[in-house]
């Protein structure tokens, strides 16, 4: 007889039945789990076909010298077969250590790290401040909340264009700065200003998500903890430090990780803010890889894919370290 549900899952850990012996479990394994496998089959197939296979194919491409001139293509009725060849780790060597590797990879890498760190720090700090304010008993709280979520509600590709108009040379931001007799930077031309503008726009877009997540976290903190802290004479700062922050720990670790991953891979904002061709120095690794593969002629497929593999390695290593660090901290804390 098959068992419908594995009661060891979910929240009901307390009253599960004692587990059978190891031999029994192996014996029942397939009988018991066959429909679980049937149900995950669609996802496994979809992921294998549209992620797994392209991934392997991409890794293979990085070991070749493929570009748009030697790939298989069809011009009119003539089909030209692919002529690219296997060159081993040449692309990686070229990207990481080759001539001009600083300009082509390391400068973008450093900028990507700065971009990710700055954006996530700003998202989290501003998001936390706003969440704390929204968590106060206050007239018009719902109204503020609706307005503050707006940057998330409107699709990114729409709001980025709005920023592009506002940041244009004689756009409204520079007109205001002019009226205040302040310097008017060329937001979309000068490298430093481009980077500043990109971080600003991304911060604007990313704060609402952090704010809502942290607000949810704040509201789930048990109010008796605050009462107890107050009885013990804790000041406002001490209550924040020793009740609020620990209470937000699990939400924070999740949203910070998501924020880092999303910011690191943020394509739309930089791509749309500066257009496909300008601003080579403000490109983070993702948009730079896109530029190599699709923004220039001839399109350098192999190098672009190699950047992709490097990006994925960076994010995978980072995520596993993050989890390990999280686990160790949790053990220490309890």
């Amino acid at each position: 007889m098959t068992v419908a549900i594995d009661r060891a899952t979910g929240k009901r850990r307390g009253d599960r039945a004692p587990r059978p012996g190891l031999g029994q479990r192996i014996k029942n394994g397939y009988q018991k789990y066959w429909y679980a496998y049937a149900m995950i089959a669609p996802v496994v197939v979809v992921l294998a076909v549209i992620v797994g296979y392209p991934l392997l194919r991409g890794v293979y491409l990085t070991l070749t010298d493929a570009n748009s001139l030697n790939s298989a293509r069809t011009i009119g009725v003539n089909h030209i077969p692919a002529t690219y060849k296997f060159i081993g780790f040449g692309n990686y060597k070229d990207i990481l250590f080759g001539p001009l590797s600083y300009d082509r990879f390391w400068s973008h890498f450093l900028w990507t790290v700065v971009w990710t760190a700055a954006c996530v720090a700003l998202h989290y700090t501003i998001g936390l401040c706003l969440a704390l304010m929204l968590n106060e008993k206050l007239r018009g709280r719902t109204f503020y909340r609706v307005l503050l979520v707006l940057p998330w509600a409107v699709p990114t590709f729409v709001t980025v264009f709005s920023w592009r108009i506002m940041l244009a040379d004689s756009g409204v931001i520079n007109q205001i700065l002019h009226a205040l007799h302040m310097p008017q930077p060329q937001w979309l031309e000068d490298t430093f200003c481009q980077r500043f503008a990109a971080i600003m726009v991304n911060t604007w877009c990313g704060v609402p998500f952090m704010m809502l997540s942290l607000l949810g976290g704040l509201q789930s903190i048990d109010s008796s903890l605050y009462e107890a802290a107050e009885m013990d004479g804790a000041s406002a700062w001490q209550r924040f430090r020793h009740v609020t922050l620990p209470g937000l720990r699990s939400v924070s670790s999740t949203v910070v990780l998501l924020g880092i991953i999303w910011t690191f891979n943020q394509f739309a904002i930089i791509f749309l803010l500066f257009g496909p061709t300008s601003a080579p120095d403000a490109q983070i690794l993702v948009t730079w890889a896109y530029f190599l593969g699709f923004g220039q002629q001839p399109r350098d497929f192999a190098q672009s894919a190699a950047y992709g593999v490097l990006l994925l390695s960076i994010i995978t290593v980072f995520t596993s370290f993050y989890f390990r660090w999280l686990k160790r901290n949790d053990q220490l804390a309890v």
Binding site: L61, L134, L150, V158, S162, A168, S223, Y226, L272
Partner: protein
């Protein structure tokens, strides 16, 4: 869960705002209240400004009006909107966006729901690996897939078809939807499954007849997430759609701004037309979106 009895801290935004005298619970000095309102109003203004500016500019009929916003007030008109609706590919883009987003939603939600159910109810061998893969797939940079996909799809003659975009959008939307739905299925009592089994339903019957109808709110959120992901996708749509009648909104909007000519007024009007329905939908489900997100994440 309830916020009403929460003792509030002044610490985050303005620790200095806490008056030194002893206040009763839930009370705040007038200075604290003013600071709170001031801070929130300023933040709301910043959040609102770019969107409001876009709406304002969309009412100015000339393409250089964004340089002289003061003059727009004197000649407000809806001429941009009628131009966009009558003389651009707006309805073509609308159609493509709907096909792509609708397809992604249908396929994505179905596939994610079965997976979410399986991982919610069962600990099968391979469970950990599957969850790890689902998490990691969300972290995939587009850069790693876009080149091989372009190559594969051109060999299959799928470039410039809706299928290509639907399939690709599923890769980003499905893993997250599966996490979200797992969180939702976890809240449905196991007794319901057991009752269905006792009454003679097959495991699939339990899922389709009992659990799916109960999970409707969760499915709605997942559907919305799929939809919004597909609508907002930029990189693949820009690269894979070549025929301008098949552009999605994300690509179509870029056509107003080329290197030589920028028709900001039409772009603004189109942007407003796109943003309004999407934002309205967004507000209907945003609360569930966040809850699902963090719940799914912390249980991993």
């Amino acid at each position: 869960m309830s916020t009403t009895t929460l003792e509030k801290t002044e610490a985050g935004p303005a620790p200095a705002a806490q008056p030194p005298r002893r206040t009763r619970r839930g009370e705040r000095g007038p200075l604290g209240a003013a600071l709170l309102h001031g801070g929130l109003a300023l933040a709301s203004l910043i959040a609102l400004a770019p969107v409001a500016w876009l709406i304002f500019l969309s009412l100015g009929p000339e393409k250089d009006d964004y340089l002289h916003p003061g003059k727009i007030l004197g000649k407000l008109s809806f001429s941009n909107y009628s131009f966009v609706l009558e003389h651009t590919g707006f309805f073509d883009w609308f159609k493509s966006t709907m096909i792509v987003a609708g397809g992604t939603t249908l396929i994505g939600v179905f596939v994610a729901a079965t997976t979410g159910y399986a991982v919610s109810r069962m600990r099968f061998p391979g469970y950990k690996q599957l969850m790890w893969v689902l998490l990691l797939t969300q972290a995939f940079p587009i850069a790693i897939l876009i080149v091989p996909m372009y190559e594969i799809f051109s060999q299959l003659d799928l470039i410039d078809t809706y299928w290509a975009l639907i399939v690709i959008n599923c890769t980003t939307a499905v893993p997250y939807s599966a996490w979200l739905l797992k969180g939702y299925f976890d809240t449905i009592p196991f007794e319901i499954d057991e009752a269905g089994r006792v009454d003679g339903l097959s495991p699939f019957g339990t899922f389709f007849r009992l659990i799916l109808p109960l999970a409707r709110p969760g499915l709605a959120v997942a559907a919305f997430y799929n939809f919004i992901t597909a609508v907002g996708e930029v990189a693949f749509a820009t690269t894979f759609m070549l025929d301008d009648s098949k552009y999605t909104f994300a690509v179509g909007l870029q056509t107003f701004v080329s290197e030589h000519d920028a028709q900001w007024n039409y772009m603004a009007a189109t942007a407003v037309l796109i943003a309004i329905p999407v934002s309205v939908f967004f507000y209907l489900v945003q609360k569930n979106l966040v809850t699902g997100l963090t719940a799914g994440g912390t249980k991993g």
